[in-house]
């Protein structure tokens, strides 16, 4: 138990984000039941909860500290989840912050999320951008192409939509994508190499 998988990819494949990060050691923990495709890009200390699906070409980069992803999250192609602190919060000598991502979150194709804290049941629609000063609570929907950069905390069930990032409060939380996750769990292993889970419950 506690087996740590060291990513054996050559260093030049690590993306250069122009920052000095200690990424020599990748510590990826994949809990049983999670489905992580081999072609996904995982950097740093990452824990992936059971039932979560990480598509090929998705990248999760734990730059500033560990990332812990909850259960039944759906992380689609070209998604970038980056744990990166704002400039003014860097180089502080206190403990390393952990990016906690709750359960049942959906990260749609090509979204870019740098949020320091993400609750549960959120949907990040295609090509949206959430900056590293935006805290996301539960049941929020960030609409396709919306860019949130200003410092703010999204209250529960907030819906951001449209080119001007209009906001409205939803009635219910978005439905969890259980059917989609079920289908993908069956389909993905047929066509992709899957990273083995390396943690026991």
């Amino acid at each position: 138990m506690g087996l740590i998988l060291l990513d054996s990819l050559p260093l030049h494949r690590i993306p250069c984000y122009g920052l000095k990060i200690n990424m020599s050691r990748n510590s990826i923990k994949i809990l049983p039941g999670a489905l992580v495709c081999e072609e996904s890009k995982l950097r740093g200390d990452i824990t992936i909860g059971s039932g979560t699906i990480v598509h090929p070409r998705a990248s999760i980069i734990a730059e500033a500290g560990p990332i812990i992803i909850g259960e039944y999250c759906l992380i689609e192609e070209q998604v970038r989840i980056v744990h990166r602190l704002p400039f003014d919060q860097r180089n502080k000598e206190n403990s390393t912050p952990v990016l906690l991502i709750g359960s049942h979150n959906v990260f749609e194709v090509d979204c870019n999320v740098e949020s320091p804290k993400i609750g549960s049941n959120n949907v990040f629609e295609a090509k949206c951008f959430v900056g590293n000063r935006v805290t996301v609570s539960d049941g929020c929907i960030i609409g396709a192409g919306c860019r949130l950069t200003e410092e703010q905390t999204l209250k529960d069930k907030m819906i951001i939509y449209g080119s001007r990032c209009q906001m409205r409060e939803g009635l219910d939380k978005p439905q969890p994508q259980t059917l989609q996750i079920e289908t993908l769990t069956k389909m993905l292993p047929n066509y992709h190499h899957i990273k083995k889970s390396n943690k026991k419950n």
Partner: protein, 505 residues
């Protein structure tokens, strides 16, 4: 296809004097003239709903206030609402389990996730809904006003007709001949002089006018004390989407019927022929008639341009493409804006006199020849022009001279199969190698020398222009007993934005 969206680098002068990219121009084959959206008649062809693709006759569309009866848009973000099936879980909870669970439907917006449940509209049992329509509180007053104005219009019409009758019988009237007017006669026999129209006398009752009040309700104190929750308040856009209700809070946002779209017929103002007519079927994007300039006028594109320096000649490579099925010869002529105005001024009066011309003259003019007469006159159809559009002055600041080449060049007809033909071109065209640099099928790459004006400042936009004369083959037959396709020399003024001026080396 980038020329559709890029800024208008190459623009053509329409007959009316406006400059447009070729994709926005039409070409009337009957007048052999360019037309643009400003110089054609726009007519509504069909009304249809863009969501359910249903054609709606114009009379019905008017009754429905140009909205679709079945489709709704989101009151929150104005996207189309889709009907969704509600989960039947709640029904199975009821004790009466024997009845089959009924499918319920609600409206939902895929974009902002608004749903008809947000405002408490009950789910419906049918797909099409029968969604509750909200009564307009001012409906009665509006109807009264409409009725009144309708009656006034009717009365006015009848009055006009009566006036006409009066005029017609002016000199037959006995009183008029004797100089005794009806009013005078009436006065003499002791009746009121003014005889008001019977319909005007029985004027429809006017609705009660609005009364101004001095006492108004005070603003609720909460308005100043309570913090407002922006999530509950509607935006200006949302209020104006429903002008009759103008909801101020989000709980009063109700689905709005989708506005109908139209298909347009475009008609040449000079000869009344259609230049664009869409197919009737709303789901079809094809046209019955599409006289787009793109299919008739050679297209000019900039391939390369040397760095532009004031007063220095630089090389410009243009690509000419022949879109038509007929060979054409292109001559580049000098752009002479002043002379062109004189020419057009000469044309205009004779254009107006067309109706008075004898048949003989008309036939003379229609002789298939390449005379110096303006092509617009030769191709005149038998129909008389309805509206003559006076061309406006072309407003383009041309600040670059073009060396007009002495020779012309030929563009072979378009051949769709040529794309797949690797055997090379078989046209055997003798080209002036100084002018034509390279050619392939119906395209030719032509070198021109341009010289920006001496006094141009750095970074100023360099614009050059020339007149492109091409041979246009008109294939309309049966008109004026023409059997053979007619060939015309058609001239178009082309303007090119070459880019910014750079400094000297």
């Amino acid at each position: 296809m980038s020329y559709i969206i890029t800024p208008d680098i190459v623009r053509y002068a329409c007959t009316c004097g406006l400059l447009k990219p070729i994709s926005n121009l039409y070409f009337c084959r009957y007048c052999t003239q360019l037309r643009c959206s400003f110089c054609v008649c726009h007519e509504v062809d069909t009304n249809f709903c863009g969501k359910c693709s249903e054609n709606i006759p114009s009379s019905e569309a008017r009754v429905k206030k140009n909205r679709c009866g079945n489709c709704y848009i989101c009151p929150c973000c104005e996207q189309e609402l889709s009907t969704r099936i509600a989960s039947t879980k709640t029904l199975s909870d009821t004790e009466d389990t024997k009845t089959t669970p009924k499918k319920m439907y609600y409206l939902s917006c895929q974009f902002c996730r608004w749903s008809s449940r947000d405002v408490g509209i009950p789910d419906q049992s049918t797909v099409t809904g029968g969604w509750p329509e909200r009564e307009n509180v001012h409906a009665n007053q509006l109807q009264e006003l409409v009725d009144m104005y309708k009656a006034i219009v009717l009365a006015q019409k009848q009055q006009q007709e009566k006036d006409k009758k009066k005029q017609r019988g002016k000199y037959l009237s006995y009183t008029d001949r004797t100089g005794v007017t009806a009013a005078a006669l009436r006065k003499r026999i002791g009746l009121p002089a003014e005889l008001t129209h019977p319909l005007l006398r029985s004027k429809p009752k006017e609705p009660e006018p609005a009364v101004a009040k001095t006492e108004v309700e005070k603003l609720p104190i909460e308005l100043f004390t309570e913090p407002i929750n922006l999530m509950d308040i509607t935006t200006v856009d949302q209020r104006l989407l429903q002008p009759e209700a103008q909801p101020t809070t989000v709980d009063k946002l109700f689905p709005v019927h989708k506005q109908l779209s139209i298909k347009r017929t475009l008609r040449c103002k000079s000869c009344e022929h259609n230049v664009s007519k869409p197919e009737y079927n709303p789901s079809s994007v094809k046209f019955k008639i599409q006289l787009f300039a793109y299919y008739h006028i050679p297209e000019v594109r900039i391939v390369t341009v040397e760095p532009l320096r004031a007063g220095q000649s630089c090389e410009l490579i243009l690509k000419f493409t022949n879109p038509s099925q007929h060979q054409t010869t292109i001559t580049i002529l000098e752009l002479n804006l002043e002379q062109q105005e004189v020419e057009e001024a000469e044309v205009a009066p004779s254009f107006d006199n067309m109706e008075n011309l004898s048949l003989q003259e008309k036939q003379q003019m229609s002789l298939p020849s390449m005379l110096s007469q303006p092509s617009s006159l030769m191709s005149m159809s038998t129909r008389s022009p309805t509206i003559t559009v006076k061309p406006r002055k072309i407003s383009e600041n041309v600040n670059c001279d073009v060396d007009v080449p002495s020779s012309t060049f030929i563009l072979p007809p378009r051949d769709d199969a040529a794309e797949y033909d690797d055997s090379g071109d078989t046209h055997n065209i003798q080209d002036d190698t100084k002018l034509v640099k390279w050619r392939k099928s119906n395209k030719a790459y032509v070198k021109l020398n341009v010289t920006p004006k001496e006094d141009l400042g750095l970074n100023s936009d360099v614009v050059c222009g020339f007149t492109m004369q091409h041979v246009y083959t008109n294939t309309i037959t049966g008109q004026m007993d023409k059997k053979e396709p007619q060939k015309y020399d058609h001239k178009v003024k082309v303007f090119l934005h070459l880019g910014k001026l750079v400094g000297s080396e």
